[in-house]
Amino acid sequence: MLGWGVDFLRAEMNRLLALLFHQGVLDEQFLQLQQLQDESSPNFVSEVITIYFSESEKLLRNLRMLLMDRELSDYKKMEIHLNQMMGSSSSIGAKRVRNVCVAFRAASEQSNHAGCLRALELLEHEYCYLKNKLHELFQIEQQRALASGVRYPAQHD
């Protein structure tokens, strides 16, 4: 029964991954990340993603703050933050988040405050969706690890 559970969970994970690929939320770089995980670094993916979450949330807060004052928005600073977020997102395979950053940066280069606000809202939305899906992925992975680790008590002791 448990063996079937492991396979089921693996299938679930693959299904979710396929969906995220199809939606363009993740790209091939995410697979590259997974390939870097092995016995010598068994939590590599979750470590990197955890750092990505905390960095991204910091950057999103900063962007929000920079856009609060319509008159004095520091577009140069925004671009610095955006470049960071673009780089990180690209490095973990977060394709849609990265693409919104590109559009955001274009608006910032034109000092287009309204455009920047719209882009920020879209960015926050995309980031939220990504975070939720990645959490789902990790949950399934955790369950799978647990399921494959369970042993039946030896019957012939």
Binding site: L36, F44, E47, V48, E55, I80, G87, S88, S91
Partner: protein
């Protein structure tokens, strides 16, 4: 001859201001069996390499090999991001190439943006490779030849130095022998009967101070 130890594990210095990219490049390099040190800025990289920002060349150490005596660990390759606040990857590249002790360390540049002018500028300045981010495992396969080339260059230089040493020693021995010969010749000239052309020549040369003195008998004959 510590070369054997260096060859078994190359040491790469990775420079990137982005924490995710640092983690990634570190993992990539480690899975390729390299020793890795990561720093988050160009100035920290120079510090690690034993060079201060205002130095043009590393004075004091006459190190002909790339082994910088100021470091604890020899660095076989430097891989750096291009876009960094303060000192860019390009600035770092320039500083390394200007340093007499560091210029032989191969440098690779990484960038998330594909700007042809940027790429050619870096290659012209002496970068070995230019990788587009995100860097893949397959990109790292291109690193090893550059590190091997630098190692064999060191070995050639070592060999060259050894050969020069031997040449020098040979010359010393030869000149000693020559000096001994000259002394022997000198002894023979003082005795009344010279023999052979070369001996005569030596004798004539010995007599040259006498020749500058006017010979009255000759002058008398002319007059």
């Amino acid at each position: 001859m510590g070369m054997a130890a260096a060859e078994s594990r190359f040491h790469v210095l990775a420079v990137d201001d982005n924490i995710i990219d640092r983690k990634l490049i570190e993992r990539l390099l480690k899975t390729s069996s390299y020793q890795v040190t990561t720093v988050d800025s160009g100035s920290k990289a120079l510090e690690f390499l034993g060079l201060h920002e205002d130095d043009r060349s590393n004075s004091g150490s006459p190190s002909i090999l790339t082994n910088n005596h100021h470091q604890e660990l020899e660095v076989n390759l430097i891989i750096t991001d291009y876009c960094m606040p303060g000192m860019t990857g390009y600035d770092l590249l320039k500083k390394i190439k200007e340093s007499s002790s560091l210029r032989d360390i191969p440098v690779v540049i990484m960038s998330s943006e594909n700007v042809p002018a940027r790429i050619s500028r870096c290659l012209e300045e002496g970068a070995e490779e230019f990788f587009l981010k995100p860097v893949r495992k397959s990109d790292l396969n291109r690193l090893r030849p550059h590190m091997m080339k630098a190692v064999s260059k060191d070995q050639k230089q070592e060999k060259h130095e050894e050969e020069e040493e031997e040449e020098r020693e040979e010359k010393e021995i030869k000149s000693q022998k020559h000096q001994e010969q000259q002394q022997q010749q000198h002894q023979q000239q003082l005795s009344p009967r010279p023999s052979g052309n070369s001996k005569r020549k030596a004798m004539e040369e010995n007599l040259s101070p006498d020749r500058t003195r006017p010979r009255y008998s000759d002058i008398a004959a002319v007059v």
